[in-house]
Amino acid sequence: MNFLARHRIILPVVSLAVLLAATFYMQPRTMSYFGLNLLFNLAVPIALATVAQMMIIMVNDIDLSLGAFVSLAACVTATFVNDTPVLGLLILLALVLSYAALGALIHALELPAIVVTLGMSFVWGGLALFILPSPGGQSPEWLRALMTVKPPFAPMAVVAAVIISVVTHLLIVRSGIGTVLRGVGGNARSVARAGWSVIWLKALAYGLAGLFGVLAGMALVGLATSADANIALRYTLLSIAGVILGGGEFTGGKVSPTGAVIGALTLTLAASFLSFMRLSPDWQIGAQGAILILVLTARLIFSRKGAAT
């Protein structure tokens, strides 16, 4: 057993550090309280969405509806939560519960999650269009204040990333229930044999995903000040890429919450890095693909080297 295989988190950390160093070099202005905040504040909702996706991947499923769901949560936040907070929060709670119910349904009927969530992406998107047929709404004041707060020492984005990763690490890696949830991804049958109700566990995992999805939507509205029905659609693929960049695997319950947060930061940073490189607009899109490939390849080379030693 090699060191890197044991500590899967090292490679994501190293990729992020290298990319950050390169960014500092390209654009020294980023190396400041203000710069770091601008660089990373939009990574906060992505990190939350990535954690949400991780909860689903943890139980061997995949969620193709997450982007639409975060958009819906954002629309609810920018409208109901702002106008009638109690009703708004109740709706958000209902969204979380419906995610949990979805998990239970997928397990009980043995449905392929990828298909159900594909269908749900239409449903969430349609509901978001009901609420906001055209962009609008407004972020609740407290939320805007929270997302633009200026804590001492480190900018909000960094503090938030640390808090998210510590909380989810405690929840998923350290706690007993988190261990059982990961066990569902590793071998659901043996978890069931040990007397756990897998249907409840799946509902819990999906419910947690729903919770983090809602938080992502709220954080997004706090930053963007308003919402629209398409605001977070790209979070679906981004969150999947983030989980993988963070050292997670699609099957077997091998996920790392800290890695997921780091993966989300890496993806955000990669886009900024490219923009600092001032490529021709033709190639800006392609370069994002290239950098994704590069970061993952670096991971491969390191893990090969690690295995060789």
């Binding site: 906001l132 055209s134 997004l220 963007a224």
Partner: protein, 319 residues
Amino acid sequence: NSHMAETSDKRIALSNNYAGNSWRQAMLQTFKETGEEAVSDGMVAAADAYTTSENQATEQAAQIQNMILQGYDAIVLNAASPTALNGAVKEACDAGVTVVSFDGIVTEPCAWRIAVDFAAMGKEQVDYLATRLPEGGNLLEIRGLAGVFVDDEISKGIHEGVAENDQFEIVGSVHGDWAQDVAQKAVAGILPSLPQVVGVVTQGGDGYGTAQAFKAAGRDTPLIVLGNRQDELQWWADQRDASDYETLSLSIAPGVASLAFWVAQQILAGEDVPKDLTVPFLKITQDSLDDALASTPEGSVANVSYALDDAKQVIADAK
């Protein structure tokens, strides 16, 4: 020019959210040409274009934040959302960056807006149909991308127009996403269940596909209001030559990016510019069709490029 010296060290960036259609490509091209010329003339130090990979506000917000970090003096912005970028735009303003939005404008008060009255564009289509088809009839509405501001505005204008001209009724409405193939598919799907349609109101980029769908279904071609794409104009010219087909084509010119560029330059030069400017949309009629077609590259969009003087004129008009 008295302002020249003052902006020669200024850097302007274009923040664009989408590059996937000919309109956006023409816009990028115009901006590039205008920018390169301005740089070589020493008017500004840099004019760089940036495009996000997906048409998403979140990605564009990050792009604007990066531009702040890169120290641009002004950002010319075609926004993915009128409101969702307000946070980032506010940050830019707070950092002393001038933000000029156009086409897809933002509502943040600190930014400038070069707006097209999209609702009027929708209404004008119905008004035109009313002159051509006085006894009215059934209309088919082709919409853009659901949930996007421009789609909603144009559609509002159209419905307003129909309310005023009650000889018309909208019997079907589909989303064509401003793309010929999507429009073609959507129209083909709804046509079988529709009664006879006399006119089609569109949003641009979808007229040709609509015409194709009518043809494939073996129906008479109704009066389709077009959207300035070269293939639409070409089709129109062919129809005109074959059967005296007559219609109207209107859309915002991609060259508005160059107008926004010059407005930004003027603001940087210290000119007092009102926050809200308007540009007329580019209208092509039966008479101007041949000229428009001749000046539009194949596969592109009818365009006009704006010079510094045009910008000064627009500013003066708004004062």
